[in-house]
């Protein structure tokens, strides 16, 4: 079905590539702008070389009111395209990514600089006019600068003080006061997306599981849904339950760890210490199911790799209850401690309009009062049958991002309880056939950081012509920068942790 220039398709349903409407560039731009005005979110915007000379842009808009994706494309007839960013800020990073990957210029883009500092995929085409072989030095760029008396610049990273991933942050400050933060990433770039073209190979799923290693289940689920749609297969209901349980265990572990880390960043050590351990209790529940704390080898095309027998299920239930009692006890200390609340409340606030303009997702968006959650808006797998209420708060600050995580911990535990109480009988895996040629599919899975979008195009032989990964962090890094405006620079660790974004998921 086509409407307003788009073909509409449900996430996880493949359509022939030819059904995606080809719009002229002006129409393509207008269709995206009109969609965003109607409240749709740009879930993915990417380029694909259809042939050596032909480059097309694909747009995937998420229409949450109708649980549909709206997809269109446009052929590029030169090495530049007019930037949408001035009218539609949420595409700013997508346009920079397209420019870097395919060597095309986004004319009029206000922040036109590389994202990951790699050579263009199309030799001879470079958005910044660099010669082939000219060294790309990461982090060498024109940083946004504030001029003035006593303005100073603070540079942090790529190697940070803690055991965390690398990235560079550049602050424009006046004393402690932050005017602006620019996050300059790309240090983790491993070629994770580029290596998927031509696949799947025996390595593909392992790359997917490590796109962001703390989101193994989320990304593996998005990938397997795409594969199953392209092959016309379906994973059995028992497997869908286990995937859903694993997805929520992943959320529980990470949300618990984040609440502990937030407590640590305000010097409230009891909760920091307890949550550090309880996070492990949730990871160990995933390991009880599949042997690996991060869920490696659990989600597989056509189902799951491990079953949950009756005694294992009971152990899972018992340990879930014990961990929940502990986390409830540990986290409740946060809300009852005035010293914690004084540091959380009002720090790093993002307003609802800004949040939506930036296209933010996940707990960070829900903390701004935006009701978006792929489990509710675009239900797939077991979430078609079991609803998880959307948890929101309105203040958009560190407190809101912390409190939404606590609300979600409660909902996830309730969901797992419900699922484990009645695991349907049946197989855990079915064989799926070969992927169909010349198809398009996009999937949306609500990972613990927010909506994960995968989009795939198959070629004439049913291999991936293009595989696009959008980690939720890609939408949210600008949110952190905005949250830091007019804050004290000493609040950066707290604000950063309240988002806890992925570096490797962004850098791919």
């Amino acid at each position: 079905m086509t409407s307003n220039g788009f073909v509409t398709v449900r996430p996880g349903h493949a359509i022939p590539r030819g059904q995606v409407p080809d719009l002229r560039m002006a129409e393509f731009r207008q269709a995206i702008l009109d969609g965003v005005v109607r409240g749709h979110r740009v879930a993915a915007l990417f380029a694909h070389t259809e042939s050596a000379s032909e480059l097309r842009l694909y747009a995937v808009l998420a229409d949450s009111a109708r649980s549909l994706l709206r997809v269109c494309r446009s052929k590029m007839d030169s090495d530049s395209f007019p930037s949408l960013t001035p009218d539609c800020p949420q595409v700013h990073l997508f346009e920079r990514e397209i420019a870097e990957q395919y060597g095309v210029r986004a004319e009029g883009h206000p922040w036109f600089k590389p994202v990951r500092y790699h050579a263009s995929y199309r030799p001879g085409h470079d958005a910044w006019g660099r010669r082939p072989g000219q060294a790309q030095v990461i982090g060498i760029t024109d940083y946004y600068r504030v001029e003035g008396v006593e303005i100073h610049e603070v540079a942090v990273g790529p190697v940070h003080a803690g055991v965390i991933e690398p990235g560079h942050f550049r602050f424009q400050c006046h004393g402690e006061h932050v005017f602006h933060l620019e996050s300059s990433l790309g240090y983790q770039h491993r070629g994770a997306e580029r290596m998927l073209a031509g696949g799947p190979t025996k390595r593909t799923l392992h790359a997917i599981e490590t796109v962001a290693g703390d989101t193994t289940i989320g990304h593996a689920s998005a990938y397997c849904q795409a594969i199953e749609a392209l092959a016309g297969g379906q994973s059995p209901i028992r497997a869908e339950v286990l995937r859903g349980v694993a997805l929520e265990l992943e959320r529980l572990a990470n949300h618990t760890g984040d609440l502990g880390a937030l407590a640590n960043d305000v010097g409230f050590l009891p909760t920091a210490s307890y949550c550090g351990r309880i996070r492990g209790d949730f990871l160990n529940l995933t390991a009880l199911i599949c042997g690996n704390r991060f869920g490696r080898s659990l989600v597989r095309p056509g189902g799951v790799g491990f079953d949950l027998d009756a005694s294992r299920r009971r152990e899972c239930q018992d340990r879930l209850e014990a961990a929940y009692r502990d986390v409830e006890n540990a986290v409740s200390l946060l809300w009852d401690s005035a010293s914690v609340q004084a540091r959380f409340e009002g720090t790093g606030a993002v307003d609802r309009d800004t949040c939506q303009a930036l296209g933010m997702v996940g707990p960070a968006a829900r903390a701004c009062g935006v009701e978006c959650d792929a489990r509710q808006d675009f239900p797939s797998g077991i979430f078609r049958f079991a609803q998880v209420p959307v948890s929101t708060w309105s203040t958009g600050d560190v407190f809101a991002r912390a409190y939404v995580r606590w609300l979600e911990i409660q909902r996830s535990v309730a969901f797992i309880r419900e699922q484990l109480a009645a695991v349907p009988e049946g197989p855990i895996r079915t064989g799926i056939g070969a992927m169909k040629p010349e198809q398009f599919v996009a999937t949306l899975v609500e990972g613990w950081r927010g909506a994960i979008c995968h989009a795939a195009l198959t070629d004439a032989s049913g291999r991936f012509a293009r595989y696009k990964i959008v980690d939720p962090s890609f939408h949210n890094w600008m949110g952190l920068a905005v949250a830091m405006r007019d804050q004290q620079i000493s609040d950066f660790p707290l604000c950063n942790k309240s988002f806890n974004l992925s570096y490797c998921g962004h850098d791919l």
Binding site: V159, D214, S273
Partner: protein, 253 residues
């Protein structure tokens, strides 16, 4: 305040008994892989063909397994027609050399302790700077866990520190992206000698799932003199702790 005290009582003492007692691991834990080449059907290559990182090679009926490349996934186990390959519960995996990670039927040569002089320096106080150079945040997370009350790394005198200037060595994770190469080398250079290098995870040892990608350097081996290899994807925290304690000569068996 009262509530905080009550919570403290309630949460109790949760530090694991390891290394005094054997670690408690899930029954499906994938530890040291065991291969019985005698079970292999003639000419069978299914495990080698299925292995995502080519960690397995079968030549003349002998299986050669490179733990440095192994992702400890289930792809080989799932396809083996003869149950010749399976995972044991053995969490001990760390070695001192890259060659020790290559198994051709011999028992795994676990990491030997540092020499006496190094042990005098580091044995009771080891400060480490962690550098993620293309890590996926799983190895990083399971290193972080060592600092929690569960493993309480501090009781062994081992600590992660914020500056290479304060460190006795670095712990590298990730396949070493080209974009982190210079930062990794500069961090290493900033550590005062004598210093240690510990490679944690398949990526840091061999590139892991990203081996061969032009954007990465297939681990830190070609840049840095590695003193301890801890395989896994990611290694279990107890595997990392076991390796660290072996290096310091604080484990006997």
């Amino acid at each position: 305040m009262l509530q905080i005290g009550l919570a403290r009582l309630r949460q109790g003492h949760r530090t694991v008994a390891f290394p005094a007692e054997a670690p408690v691991l899930p029954d499906r834990f994938r530890g040291l892989p065991l291969v019985d080449s005698t079970k292999c059907p003639d000419g069978c290559q299914t495990c080698a063909e299925a292995c995502p990182t080519d960690a397995i090679a079968v030549e003349e009926g002998k299986v050669r397994l490179d733990l440095g490349r192994c992702l400890f996934c289930t792809d080989c186990v799932d396809v083996c027609p003869a149950d010749a390959i399976r995972y044991s519960q053995d969490h001990r995996l760390a070695t001192r050399t890259r060659d020790d990670l290559i198994l051709e039927g011999q028992p795994l040569q676990l990491a030997r302790a540092l020499d006496a002089k190094s042990r005098r320096l580091f044995g009771r106080s080891l400060k480490l700077r962690q550098v993620s150079a293309g890590g996926c945040n799983a190895c990083e997370a399971d290193l972080n866990v060592l600092g929690t009350v569960v493993f309480d790394l501090g009781r062994f005198g081992i600590q992660f520190v914020a500056s290479p200037r304060h460190a006795d060595g670095i712990v590298v994770t990730g396949a070493v992206s080209e974009n982190m190469r210079s930062a990794l080398l500069e961090t290493y250079a900033a550590v005062p000698p004598p210093k240690l290098v510990i490679a944690v995870g398949a990526c840091a040892i061999s590139g892991g799932p990203y081996a061969g990608n032009p954007e990465v350097h297939d681990g830190c081996d070609s840049f840095l003199p590695v003193d301890l290899y801890v395989p896994g994807c990611p290694p279990h925290p107890v595997t990392i702790l076991d390796g660290l304690l072996r290096l310091l000569g604080r484990l006997d068996e």
